[in-house]
């Protein structure tokens, strides 16, 4: 009886790991890429027969790609192309053992390169691959794209509220919090909430250390709640909605997030700046930004847009979103991304 049970389990396990590659208009499959002590989950959803793939590089560090996988994107983008949700190392459903020493930007770029190689191995070298970086994902994207020869691996890139320059990011966040805060106070909106933010910005003027940088990010996160024209979306509600359906490993997501947030990795990031290197970028680029993004203010997007050498580039701004446009203005997001990738197919 016990032997039968063990055999049954092994059969099930082997069955789960059997290679399955689907080319269809409604694919949904998961595979893992193992690299330097981490096995990173990759979910491919949507129309793989279109040969258009959009690889989402999520924010964080440590936030999972699960939060980007919504029904709306599935229906309005997944019908035209395949969306690739990659959980970075130490994030989401990615697994490993003692791999904390490998949590750094250089390694993540190598991970991304290997994920793209596996994608092409599975779905064909002739695919049109687009990289989409959001928030911290914008930093990985900027590092990847500015390495010699790496642009040849992709058809184009999409920067959505991404950060390519952390020191500049902090300066711009402070500036936007101050400007918008003073305007809101003058309009007598959320005065008691804005006042401590304004005071903090006035007393911290530059050369931010990690602690100040994190405090500014916290205020930037809070500030979105005090702008009435933003379409507010609760992450908690999103988790409740998709948790069961998408089979979230919720405790793993939480453990990974907490570890990544407290990791020394963040000190390395605080000084990272890719602005000067962006001039080598020549692939087609779409820059999407939320008008009320305090975490990565719109001026950061303009810096990215102005520095790249691509002649085929476009920047578009959503007037009703903050940092999380993918959830806050999903129609705008899907329309922009769909028209960009279809135009470059």
């Amino acid at each position: 009886m016990k032997q039968l049970f063990i055999i049954g389990i092994l059969l099930l396990i082997v069955g789960c790991q059997k290679e399955k590659i689907t080319i269809s208009s409604s694919t949904s499959e998961v595979f893992y890429v193992e690299n330097a002590g981490a096995s990173m989950r990759v979910l491919v959803q949507g129309n793989t027969s279109s040969k258009i793939f959009i690889l989402i590089i999520h924010g964080g560090p440590g936030v999972s790609s699960y939060f980007y996988d919504t029904n709306y994107i599935g229906k309005n983008l997944g019908d035209k192309c395949a969306i690739v949700y990659w959980d970075q190392r130490n994030a989401g459903a990615s697994q490993g053992s003692s791999n904390g020493n490998k949590l750094h930007l250089d390694q993540m770029v190598d991970d991304l390169k290997k994920v793209t190689e596996v994608l092409k191995y599975r779905y064909g070298q002739d695919m049109n691959l687009f990289l989409l970086g959001h928030s911290f994902g914008g930093l990985i994207l900027a590092d990847f794209i500015t390495r010699p020869g790496f642009q040849n691996m992709i058809k184009g890139l999409i920067d959505v509220d991404g950060s390519h320059n952390y020191p500049l990011n902090d300066t711009l966040t402070r500036q936007k919090l101050l400007t918008e805060g003073q305007y809101q106070v003058a309009q007598k909106r959320h005065v008691s909430e804005w006042q401590p933010i304004i005071n903090y910005c006035l007393s911290h003027t530059g050369n931010f250390n990690l602690e100040e940088s994190q405090q500014l990010e916290q205020y930037a996160n809070d500030a979105e709640n005090y702008i009435d024209s933003i379409n507010h979306v609760s992450i908690v509600t999103e988790v409740e909605r998709y948790n069961i359906h998408d089979k979230y490993p919720l405790t793993a997501i939480i453990s990974n997030l907490m570890y990544s947030e407290d990791s020394n990795f963040n000190e390395e990031l605080a000084a990272t700046n890719f602005s000067p290197a962006l001039k080598i970028v020549t692939v087609p680029v779409l820059v999407l930004w939320g008008k009320y993004d305090f975490i990565c203010p719109i001026s950061l997007g303009e810096d990215f847009f102005n520095r790249i050498s691509s002649t085929d580039k476009r920047m578009s701004v959503s007037s009703r979103s903050g940092h999380n446009m993918i959830l806050q203005d999903k129609k705008f997001f899907c329309n922009e991304v769909a028209s960009f990738v279809l135009a470059h197919n």
Partner: protein, 228 residues
């Protein structure tokens, strides 16, 4: 897109609730009799799940000691229960689609209290070993860009489990060598991405007590009092 405050709050609340639950299992003043005649090996088969993710547990319990306890008030017995201590060995598995399958062995120290009514409460904790199998084909890319599939990809983890449960012992009133137990365990695996992975696991199981000497209600209890 992170909301760390929310996650930390959930974790804090969960730890508080578990602490509260286990504190409630503390014992009051009582008289005890070690009853070696009731020692027997038990077998346990359980459905083992986390939310909607199924699994199974098979366990064997080795008794260490078994004590009948009488709680007295003004020379009258107000409560009677048995207290057992066991070492258990279990083989467990759960299947979380697209994430992993986890096959884990545990050795636990188990404390169980069985009331005269048949009601059971228990607590267990112990170390273990886990082997996960990733929930999808796993690829490895070498530095030359060669891609290979990793067979039976997964990780080995050290594991610590603790949990508590409630149940009913059918041997006391129904004279059947079974008991049914619902138990909530927390398994923690490490080093998981250089941190600890916690997972709540709900066990719904049947325990078979092949060597059970059935307790005859009434008479046995009287003899316990006489002994005192």
């Amino acid at each position: 897109m992170s909301q760390p405050g929310f996650y930390k709050e959930i974790l804090r609340t969960a730890i508080f609730l578990f602490t509260l639950f286990y504190c409630s299992l503390c014992l009051a003043q009582s008289d005890t009799i070690n009853d070696s005649s009731s020692r027997h090996i038990n077998l346990n088969l359980s459905y083992n799940s986390s939310l909607i993710y199924p699994g199974i547990t098979m366990a064997i319990e080795f008794p260490l000691y078994h004590i009948n306890v009488q709680v007295l008030k003004n020379q009258k017995t107000v409560r009677f229960y048995t207290r057992g201590r066991f070492i258990t060995g279990s083989l467990n598995w759960y299947h979380h689609p697209d994430f992993h399958d986890n096959l884990y062995l545990t050795a636990e120290w188990l404390m169980r209290r069985t009331m005269y009514s048949g009601f059971i409460s228990e607590f267990s904790a112990g170390p273990g070993f886990s082997r996960t199998f990733l929930g999808g084909t796993t690829y490895r890319v070498d530095d030359n860009g060669n891609i290979s599939v990793v067979r039976l990809a997964g990780y080995n983890y050290a594991l610590i489990t603790f949990g508590g449960g409630l149940g009913y012992d059918f041997s006391i009133k129904k004279h059947l060598p079974f008991s049914a137990v619902a138990k909530l365990n927390i398994i923690s695996m490490f080093p998981y991405n250089s941190t600890i992975y916690f997972r709540p696991v709900l066990e719904l199981g049947i325990r078979y007590m092949p060597g059970m000497k059935w307790i005859i209600p009434g008479n046995k209890l009287v003899s316990t009092s006489e002994y005192k």
